[in-house]
């Protein structure tokens, strides 16, 4: 059985709490707060105003640039205001507040459960529809999907890889989606294949989900060109570059994109959203979230409309247990503990993990013993002990030289460290700083080039 070659760790998957729980609907909120930044790239620009009536699925914010995504109203009602809101970590962001009234949908949306297999659209039309539906990668990074599908000139997509790995411990939302919407996902894959003009698609699923592998295999047998590939359990297999390595044996170069090795990777939840957008005209207004934890009353998988306060989601799962020490947005490896559960669900939050105090306490860090376990564990081939030291000493240029921007924040280094050193804390901070420096440099170089160009033009005009 295949897996990726470099690094990786094997945390206990802990999926028993919510695995196999049918997807439930969380009731509509009284007020939805919809942030304008739910994706990587430029913030969306609101197209509604205070007092406007909106329906479910109506566009309320348009993309703010090429790498950006539109936002559709997940509820029907009246726009209360466009104002600042606070996210789960206390940071400010712009958001649209909608007072919910009833549940009135746009007429163009097909809300039936009927499976639509035929798709007569061309590649361009599919990409247009995906863009119009505001679809972003639901695996966690929230990269706008239409950008991924628009293969840049000079490059060619050879294989489509579908991420059904869900390597993050505790989370089961993708697993349940594959179980309940198998056929829709298969149709979604054929649509994406058409959009990318590729013949071959590989669905990578870790072998701790044998039922999903079996069910997807049966559904895929009805069509051609879709291979279901069971993968050996290993974290972070769901990382884009790791998955490409596991499925095809190709390695994305440092600083490169998957398309450099002819691959495009999409998550199963994204594929399902593509199916709904293309075949049912339904934009991205909800997602499946896992609410789980050892002491949660009703751990399970919940379909949540964006804008629903996380408190409502937690209430649907039986409230916050007494012994909760940390509430983590996402899984235990990559997620971040939250300080504010007033915040609303959005495209980014794939799960809520409620860890009891006993499981969430940090061990006191001790001195590095130079065992190099972090180096062995790093799936990107970096040297985490060195990077964290450099970040602590604020050596930003050296960090850039040592490829800190390749770090995928997977946390393998910190998981494996026998001295409990806070490696990722420093690396993440360093990555933020180094990224800022690189962006500033790029902007400077661009401005300089433009100034020189303008100078040359004026000189030419004079001559």
């Amino acid at each position: 059985m295949k897996t990726f070659k470099i690094g990786g760790v094997h945390p206990h998957d802990n999926k028993q709490y919510s695995a196999g729980k049918a997807i439930q609907q969380v009731p509509l909120p009284k007020q939805a707060i919809i942030p304008l930044v739910q994706h990587i790239g430029a913030p969306a620009k609101p197209v509604v105003q205070k007092g406007d009536e909106v329906k479910v699925g109506q566009l309320i914010a348009e993309p703010g640039g090429f790498v950006s995504a539109g936002i559709h109203s997940p509820v029907s009602g009246k726009v209360l205001k466009i104002d600042e809101a606070v996210d789960a970590w206390g940071m400010k962001m712009q958001a649209i507040y909608i007072n919910v009234e009833g549940d009135e949908w746009e007429e163009s949306i097909d809300r039936s459960d009927k499976l639509v297999r035929q798709c007569a659209l061309t590649s361009q039309e599919i990409i247009k529809k995906v863009a119009a539906a505001g679809i972003v990668g639901l695996g966690g990074a929230c990269f706008p999907t239409q950008v991924k599908l628009s293969v840049p000139p000079g490059k060619k997509a050879e294989v489509l890889i579908i991420n059904g790995v869900e390597c993050e411990p505790f989370l089961t939302c993708d697993h349940q989606l594959m179980m309940e919407h198998t056929d829709e996902i298969i149709v979604g894959i054929t649509i994406l294949k058409k959009a990318l003009r590729v013949e071959h698609a590989i669905v990578g699923i870790e072998n701790n989900k044998p039922d999903a592998i079996e069910k997807m295999r049966q559904a895929a047998a009805k069509t051609t060109g879709i291979e279901i590939m069971p993968l050996k359990l290993r974290y972070p297999q769901g990382g884009e570059k790791q998955l490409i390595d596991a499925c095809t044996g190709r390695q994305v170069p440092s600083g490169g994109l998957p398309i450099d090795v002819g691959a495009v990777v999409d998550n199963v939840a994204t594929v399902y959203a593509v199916y709904q957008a293309v075949q049912k005209n339904k934009p991205l207004i909800s997602r499946v979230m896992t609410v789980t934890g050892p002491s949660v009353e009703n751990p399970g998988n919940y379909e949540v409309r964006f804008g629903t306060p996380l408190n409502d989601v937690l209430a649907a799962a039986g409230g916050i247990p007494e012994d909760t020490g940390k509430i983590i947005g996402g899984g235990p490896m990559m997620g971040r503990a939250m300080s504010n559960t007033d915040m609303c669900s959005n495209k980014r939050v794939s799960g809520l993990l409620l860890l009891p105090e006993s499981m969430s306490v940090r061990q006191a860090p001790q001195a590095c013993i130079r065992c190099a376990k972090c180096v062995q564990a790093c799936p990107m081939g970096l040297e985490p002990y060195l990077l964290s030291k450099m970040a602590a000493h604020q050596m930003w240029d050296e960090l850039i030289e040592h490829n800190i921007m390749d770090c995928i924040d997977c946390g393998c280094c910190m998981f494996t460290c026998p001295s409990y050193r806070p490696l990722l804390d420093y690396i993440r901070m360093g990555k933020g700083k180094a990224g800022g420096i690189l962006r500033a440099r790029a902007a400077e170089a661009k401005a300089k080039a433009e100034a020189e160009k303008a100078k040359a033009e004026t000189a030419a005009a004079k001559a």
Binding site: P11, H12, N14, Q16, W89, G90, M91, K92, P169, P294, P309, N311, G319, I320, E322, T324, G325, K326, I327, I328, P332, M333, M334, G335, R336, A337, M338, S339, N340, T341, D342, L355, E357, S358, M359, S360, V361, R362, Q363, P365, A392, G411, M414, F415, T416, C417, Y420, P422, L424, D425, Y426, R428, M429, G432
Partner: protein, 352 residues
């Protein structure tokens, strides 16, 4: 034993050594770097802290610049201060330029009572990291995080976290205004301000740029941008930008009117004697003010705080920052990798 081998080797090594010495001498003479002897003199006067507070790379760099520049304008060794600068001026035969002594000021007065915690952070105790992760343990995204990046940056042991307030405090006597803490603070809370006559000065002890209501909710002592101070200021010293007041220390005449006008007590008058009690509310805690005459910390002398002290009980009800989490106090924030990194605990269920 035949000693000739030893004699030969001594002889050859000796000749080689001599040759090398001659070559080195010639090279040293030929490529001699002429340095102004005054640079060494100036360097001798400097404190050799190599803190970079002057804006040059170490004391040698500063000395070189002093000798090479034409006047003493804008040159100041913050550590040595005026005495060192006049000594340098003497060496160089120039007139010394008087510079105002400066001091670092931590512009936050969000004490534990005014700015209650609503979560607990158990990650790496570094302000840089907390700041990059989230808002911090309180509801204020601008205030002191109390992890002590500035304390570690200070070479003169002049800044410490006050354990009762959780805020960094500057020891005025030790502070050399080198600016290391200013660079270290990720929230740009620390500013170098004029020490002022008799060390007296007015400071807006807040950096919260939220709208008034939001700021007040997060911290009872926050500047709410109400503009009252700006209105009472007769010297145009106060500007309000992004809901935050700022006192220009070059214009401030220390009249203390703004301090009286401030409804939240965000403006502090430092090192002033206690006010005469005639205008004061009866509850004014005079004893407290008298207790600390020349203590060189940023503690305000209390008189004008009387209105703020009255306001405190009403404000105390407000500062619940996140209402909804059922257990806001138990929510701990860190990047959570380490939670799974205690493999024993997550593995338990299968062992059973």
């Amino acid at each position: 034993m035949d000693l000739t081998v030893i004699y030969y080797s001594i002889g050859i090594l000796g000749i080689l050594g001599l040759l090398a010495a001659v070559v080195l001498y010639v090279v040293a003479q030929k490529f001699k770097v002429e340095e102004d002897p005054r640079i060494e003199q100036v360097e001798g006067v400097l404190p050799q802290a190599n803190c970079g507070g002057c804006g040059f790379p170490g004391c040698h760099g500063f000395a070189t610049h002093c000798v090479q520049s034409d006047s003493m304008d804008g040159l100041l060794c913050p550590v040595g201060g005026q005495p060192v600068m006049s000594q340098i001026a003497e060496i160089l035969g120039r007139a010394a330029v008087a510079a105002d002594p400066m001091v670092a000021v931590v512009r936050c007065n969000g004490t534990c009572e005014a700015r209650p915690r609503n979560n607990r952070y158990d990650g790496t105790q570094t302000c840089q990291i907390v700041h990059s992760l989230y808002i911090g343990e309180t509801g204020c995204g601008y205030g002191c995080l109390g992890c002590g990046d500035c304390v570690r940056a200070c070479q003169f042991d002049a800044i410490h976290i006050n354990p009762t307030t959780g805020i960094a405090e500057v020891d005025e006597e030790k502070c050399t205004s080198c600016g290391a803490c200013v660079k270290a603070c990720p929230r740009t809370l620390i500013e170098l301000r004029k020490k002022g006559p008799k060390n007296r000065r007015m400071v807006v002890m807040c950096r919260n740029m939220d709208k008034g209501a939001v700021a007040k909710k997060a911290c009872a002592n926050a500047c709410i941008g109400c503009m009252k101070c700006q209105k009472v200021c007769a010297f145009d010293a106060i500007t309000i930008d992004k809901n935050l007041s700022y006192i220009d220390f070059t214009k401030c005449k220390l009249c203390r009117k703004c301090e009286e006008a401030c409804p939240t007590g965000a403006i502090h008058a430092v090192n002033f004697p206690p006010r005469k009690p005639k205008t004061e509310a009866p509850a004014a805690p005079k004893a407290e003010t008298a207790a600390k005459p020349a203590v060189a910390t940023e503690k305000p002398i209390v008189a004008p705080k009387a209105p703020a002290a009255e306001a405190a009980p009403t404000a105390a009800a407000a500062p619940v920052v996140t209402e909804a989490p059922a257990k806001p106090d138990t929510t701990v924030v860190t990047s959570s990798v380490e939670t799974a990194a205690t493999p024993a605990a997550p593995a338990e269920p299968t062992n059973k």
